[in-house]
């Protein structure tokens, strides 16, 4: 509990500097097919959070997508792959992961090293990939640290 409070205070102090943060920005170009297809089961994750190579591999195996069947017609898949490649991370291995999970990239792990194990396990969070549980602006691509809540269920 103390730790959560400390993080919240700390993020309030840091908020003024958030213009400098190198966090994800949604690309200026928004592809409608991408939003519809990749934003239906979870929010549409910012393309800049994985490398082009990671996106290509993910798009090549949508029928077995993290335990789900997300298969697509070939035309939509090609369009989305091109969009993801154009807007992928330019920061190399910091945004790469062999599991193809954003939440396993060195960048993600480092940004979240202060989040307690209990917060990740909280029933309101369920999964680290559930960005919107803590980042209330996530569906708009807004991850600024002045809009974070950590749900901690009291028992």
């Amino acid at each position: 509990m103390m730790k959560v409070k400390a993080i919240l205070i700390c993020s309030a102090l840091l908020a003024s500097g958030s213009l400098l943060a190198d966090g994800p920005r949604m690309p200026r170009e928004i592809d409608k097919t991408w939003i519809e297809e990749c934003g239906s089961c979870h929010l549409a994750y910012p393309p800049s959070l994985l490398t082009a190579d990671n996106w290509r591999r993910m798009m090549g195996g949508l029928d077995r997508h993290f335990g789900s069947n997300a298969s697509l017609d070939a035309a939509s898949a090609a369009k989305i792959t091109a969009f993801l490649e154009r807007n992928a991370s330019t920061r190399g291995q910091r945004n790469a992961s062999s599991t193809l999970r954003i939440t396993d990239t060195p960048w993600f792990v480092r940004e979240h090293d202060e989040v307690s194990p209990a917060a990740w396990r909280d029933p309101n969070v369920k999964s680290a990939a559930n960005c919107a549980a803590c980042h209330r602006g996530a569906d708009r691509g807004d991850y600024d640290d002045d809009d974070i809540v950590i749900p901690v269920t009291r028992r």
């Binding site: 789900s68 298969s71 999964s127």
Partner: protein
Amino acid sequence: MFRLIALPLGIGIALAAHAETPTDLVARYAQQAASSQPGFSASAERGRSFFVRKWNVTDKMPDCASCHTERPDRAGSHVITAKPIKPLAPAANPERFSKLAKVEKWFRRNCTEVVGRECSAAEKADLIEFLVATGGA
């Protein structure tokens, strides 16, 4: 010259004419079903049993209700990602069952995951019949 203009126009009309209603879709699937089951007619009651049936093919998604809840006139939530899902009943969400391609895509994904195989035309007709019969919230 004329061909250049006529072509995009033709595509425009084809796309605009693409909207379906839930009742169109029930009729379409019922007709398909009738080719193997003569005299088939969609049943909301069979649709309801299909929707609430526990298939138990996977642990996390034993039934349609895992994500859509047992009340199709209410919003659901994705069992793994927790993303909210709008109601399936057209009375509560007019966007439902208006695009054949979208309906087919989700039947294909959700049926293979939950039921372990594709759904038949008869099951699709029954399910939509049930959802249409379910009033708004």
